[in-house]
């Protein structure tokens, strides 16, 4: 009798604690976004684009502020000086030869950036995931996934678009210890897999775990993938007040 009473008391204390301790999918996304979004950021990097004819390399400099603002300047010879400016709801392109600005809207946002597997939306948009998607667990307990021979414990969550978004459905594997996306699968409305992203390297900067090398595989094209490598990443750096203006874009 005493034992039953003791077990009842223990369960009565532990059960609410366990329920309270159970992380929600929204919390997981928020923690992952904490690692992904920075007050300010400056970096250089490169995209290595692989197609059936071999590889092409595009180098760039990037400056970003929070979720909304980003300026990407290409520095490789072929596209030197071409820029992409992301503001809250708009993307502008600058072409130095024509001294011309182009505002991208609608379907143009799905266009490939410089022939890579990344679209303009992939590179610059949709960072406020919880505003755009409803999120749920696929597996409530962490699962093990293997990337390049290493096993990681990850939360496996599903994102469903609340409105018109780049990818109506996403599956994410988020590291249960570091809260960084380890793998993502992007799907169409019909559930067809469009792209797959695998994070290959993570760097710790300012107490954050930041993906600095990832590979995007275009599942609709044969032998098409883009490795995105971020170098010289600095976060929380001072930026000019006009860093994300059309003046800065067209300079």
């Amino acid at each position: 009798m005493k034992k039953i009473f003791l077990y009842t008391v223990i369960w009565a204390v532990l059960l609410p604690c366990m329920l309270w301790a159970q992380i929600t999918p929204e919390q997981i996304i928020k923690k992952a976004e904490y690692n992904q979004v920075h007050d300010t950021m400056k970096s250089t990097g490169k995209m290595i684009i692989t197609s059936q004819f071999g590889t092409q390399e595009k180098t760039f400099e990037a400056v970003a502020e929070g979720e909304d603002n980003m300026l990407l300047t290409f520095t490789n010879i072929e596209e030197r000086g071409q820029k992409i400016l992301r503001l809250k709801d708009e993307i502008y392109l600058y072409f130095p030869d024509a001294e011309g600005l182009l505002r991208l809207q609608g379907g143009a946002l799905k266009e490939s950036v410089m022939g890579s597997s990344f679209s303009y939306e992939d590179l610059t948009g949709e960072k406020g995931l919880l505003d755009l998607y409803t999120v749920s667990f696929i597996e409530t307990a962490p699962v093990q996934i293997e990337i390049s021979g290493t096993s990681y414990s990850c939360y496996h969550v599903k994102l469903k678009g609340k409105r018109s978004v780049a990818y109506p459905e996403q599956e994410l594997w988020i590291d249960s210890n570091l809260f960084v996306i380890r793998k993502a699968v992007y799907k169409s409305l019909s559930g067809r897999v469009l792209k797959e992203l695998v994070v290959e390297r993570i760097q710790t900067i300012g107490g954050k775990y930041i993906p600095v090398q990832f590979n995007m595989i275009d599942k609709l094209k044969k032998n098409s993938q883009t490795r995105f490598i971020i170098e010289n990443l600095r976060i929380n750096v001072a930026l000019r007040p006009d860093e994300f203006s059309l003046e800065r874009l067209s300079f």
């Binding site: 072409f95 024509a98 143009a108 890579s116």
Partner: protein
């Protein structure tokens, strides 16, 4: 002598680029063509186009560029396409030298392009950028927030001037300004250029927005300085409009659809039997369809149509970006129309085939 001068200049610049904080790039297009001459005989030709670029790097507030273009056939035709310095100061920026500024809206037709003029038809639709003229200028740009700015410009030589004189009369210069802003999602631009060389005032307005398509509308008016008549003003009134949209699907590639028009409301609206080069029709159209099945290959169908005399130039092109910096190009163009139409069969260049390679390194 000219060859020697250019060889020496290139050597000097190459040596300079090795030691200065400069990035260098070279673009070479090697093209072979088949066309018909004025006697309607088929002729073949080879042409090389080169662009040698020196660009500054290092200082984020100073940008400078020297671009030397050369067209190589039997002879060499060199040109300094760009030579400018652009500097950002607190509150304003200054551009001095030979470069391009883009006023108004429009890919081919742009009534707001008061500096270079973009209302006349062109016969060569094979280039990726159809308007890229440059001019010597001094340009002051004052930003007024994230999307707005005012700009003032002085051009010592008219962009279309053929004069080789270095010293130009102040009565031959051009100057003006513009203001650009955004209101309710619509880019609004208004400006003015005084063309002292032609004794003309040239104001314009331009709008750009989005309603399923990217839409643009520009209007300009050339007004003679002395005693303008109603007829003068009507003749100088031009309007351009355009729409463009990119349809991108994950499975069927990317389609870009563009339509532009050049309107001269008070020009000829019926075919002129005795039309000359100076005859201006009321409407010209520029439709373009671009299809890119993947990221390396693209097909392009372009045309300039003069509906009032039922003539057109139609161009079909293909670009294949095989290796980094390398493009294979091919274009076929045909003109359709009668003898004195804007475009026509039985004239020089009425049919043209162009193939070649373009490499940037």
């Amino acid at each position: 002598m000219k060859y020697l001068f250019w060889c020496l200049l290139l050597n000097l610049l190459l040596v300079f680029s090795l030691y200065a904080d400069v990035t260098t790039s070279v673009e070479i297009s090697a093209l072979s063509g088949l066309t018909r001459d004025e006697t309607q005989e088929f002729v073949i030709y080879g042409v090389g186009k080169t662009a040698l670029n020196f660009e500054s790097r290092g200082n984020p507030d100073v940008r400078a560029q020297l671009q030397l273009d050369t067209i190589v056939t039997d002879a060499i035709m060199p040109d300094v396409k760009r030579a400018f310095v652009k500097v950002r100061f607190p509150g304003f920026r200054l551009t001095a030298g030979k470069t391009r500024v883009s006023w108004g809206e429009g890919f081919l037709f742009n009534a707001g392009d008061v500096i270079f003029g973009s209302m006349e038809p062109i016969a060569d639709l094979s280039e990726s950028v159809l308007r890229d003229e440059t001019a010597w200028l001094l340009d002051l740009y004052i930003p007024l927030g994230q999307f707005s700015h005012i700009e003032a410009i002085v051009l010592p030589y008219a962009p279309d001037s053929q004069s080789a004189e270095i010293l130009n009369s102040v009565e031959e210069m051009q100057g003006g300004g513009r203001i650009v802003t955004k209101l309710l999602g619509i880019k609004i631009e208004g400006g003015y250029l005084f063309k002292a060389d032609q004794h003309l005032h040239h104001p314009y307005v331009s709008f750009q927005g989005n309603l399923f398509f990217d839409l643009q509308l520009s209007a300009g008016m050339e007004i003679p300085v002395e005693n303008p008549t109603a007829e003068d003003i009507e003749d100088g009134f031009t309007v351009s409009f355009g729409l463009m949209r990119i349809f991108s699907t994950d499975e069927a590639g990317t389609w870009t659809v563009r339509l532009e028009g050049a309107l001269r409301p008070f020009a000829e609206w019926e075919e002129v039997a005795s039309a000359t080069e100076d005859t201006r029709y009321g409407l010209l159209l520029y439709p373009e369809i671009n299809y890119a099945p993947d990221d390396l290959l693209s097909f392009q169908l372009r045309s300039i149509i003069s509906p009032l005399d039922a003539s057109a130039v139609i161009s079909f092109g293909c670009t294949y970006n095989i290796y980094q910096g390398l493009n294979m190009l091919g274009t076929v163009a045909v003109q359709v129309g009668d003898g004195n139409d804007v475009f026509g069969w039985d004239r020089e260049g009425d049919v043209a085939l162009l193939i070649g390679l373009e490499y940037i390194f």
